[in-house]
Structure formats: structure tokens, C-alpha cells
Symmetry: C2
Subunit: 110 residues, 2 copies
Amino acid sequence: MGTTKSDHFSVKQNQIANIAKAIGHPARVAILDYLTKVDSCICSDIVNELPLAQPTISQHLKELKTAGLIKGNIEGNAICYCIDEKAIEKIQAYFTKLAGAIANPKNTCC
Amino acid sequence: MGTTKSDHFSVKQNQIANIAKAIGHPARVAILDYLTKVDSCICSDIVNELPLAQPTISQHLKELKTAGLIKGNIEGNAICYCIDEKAIEKIQAYFTKLAGAIANPKNTCC
DNA sequence: ACTTTATATCGTAATATTGCAATATTAAAA
DNA sequence: TTTTAATATTGCAATATTACGATATAAAGT
């Protein structure tokens, strides 16, 4: 028990869940917000920007990267992180589908 | 430690994170998928549809409801669950914003 | 070579999540 | 009113997540 039964669900469902899970923490939302706001992605200015210790930020960045939401480029001894379009597009398409289903509701009970 | 420092982030960031977190499990994605697919929301047919025990489904439904992603209507001794537009719209708007930031990238490093 | 700067990894404590059996609740049906 | 059907709650074991200090790594500056 305690383990998510991911093998009982479709690949698509697991993909969406993984992306959503990565976004499912305020610190990671804050990182995404910061990356869209800032002109050059001055890497870990993020550490100075957020009220979390450097190892914690590093961990969150790793999770965002694993989920495909951001990508990093090595620049000298620093790393430049940017938002990656792939995962964003995938989950955006999912919500468009959901929103479409709401626009033409088949359910009449609620 | 181990507690999410939600008080260090904005209300908006916490809202987005909470919605995303609710979607961040394949069983809950499967429930949302099922609710958009089915004509009438025959409530917990979900229990028959998914490979999880009834208390587990009930728990997942509660989380989706708390996040505002679904709403339930009592119909006799059954409950009719449907997707709720509010949270979907909120998170969809968030992804549109992110996608827009990608379309006009300010970052040149990645 | 030594120091600084930027980032990652390890280890670990605190807490949260997942899943289910057992049990409770509530309303229809017999 | 007893039974059945649909759902919720409780309690608990297994596992996952969050956060951070300490430490490692790696490139740049001195």
C-alpha cells in the first residue's frame, strides 16, 4: 500500500498526471512564473528569489526538468533554465479537451 | 521539515498548485476522463470502471471536489458527479499565459 | 594552486499521500 | 421494518514528498 498503481492506468493518463504533479507545488509554480517573467534566465537568481534553501530549489528544478517542463543549458559554471514547450503543450491540449467537454455537456444532473 | 511552505507563496500560486496537485494522480485523471466521456454521470460506476477499491475512489473524488474540479449532486441514495468548470477555467488560463510566454520568448539561452 | 561561485547529491527528519479492510451512514426497495 | 445499494469515514501500514545541513563537483577568477 501507499504506492500509486500507475500500471493500471493508460500511458496518456500517467503522462498528464506526471506533468500536473510537477506543477502541484507552489514553489514549482513560482519557479515557472519567474522563468516566464525574467528577461534572461539568470539561473539561480531563483535561489535568491524564493524563500527556500539552495538544495531545495535544486531538487524542485530537477523535478520540473524530469517532467519536461523546463530545460537547462550549461553556460560556464552556471546553468540557464528555461521553460520547455513540450509538456506545456501536452497539458494545455488536455485542458482544452476537458473545457470542450464542459462546453457541450452530456450530463444533465449537475 | 517535510511541510510545504505554502505561506511563502502567493495565493494565486497556491491555487494553481492545488488544482494541479489534484490532477497529479493517474486515478484522478482517469476519473476526469470518465466523467467527460460518459453520457449521464452514473456516479460510481466509477468504482466498477477503475481498478481501485470503493474507499479509495471515494477519497480521490473528495480531493477532486475539494480542488473544485468536480461537483456532486445527490440523487436519491446515489450521488451524481460532474466536472466543474471553475477550476478547469482557472488552470487553463494559467497554461495559456505560460504558452504565450513561450511564443514570445525573452530568454535567448535555450 | 587556491579561492570563489554555481549547482548537485547524500542523508535524514518531519510530514503527506495512497490504498484498503472494517465500519458507519443514508436512502431506496422489498 | 428489514434488507439492499451507494457512498463516506476511520484507522492503519507502506511509501512518497519536502526541506535542509553537510558535502561533493565543476568551472571561473585570482
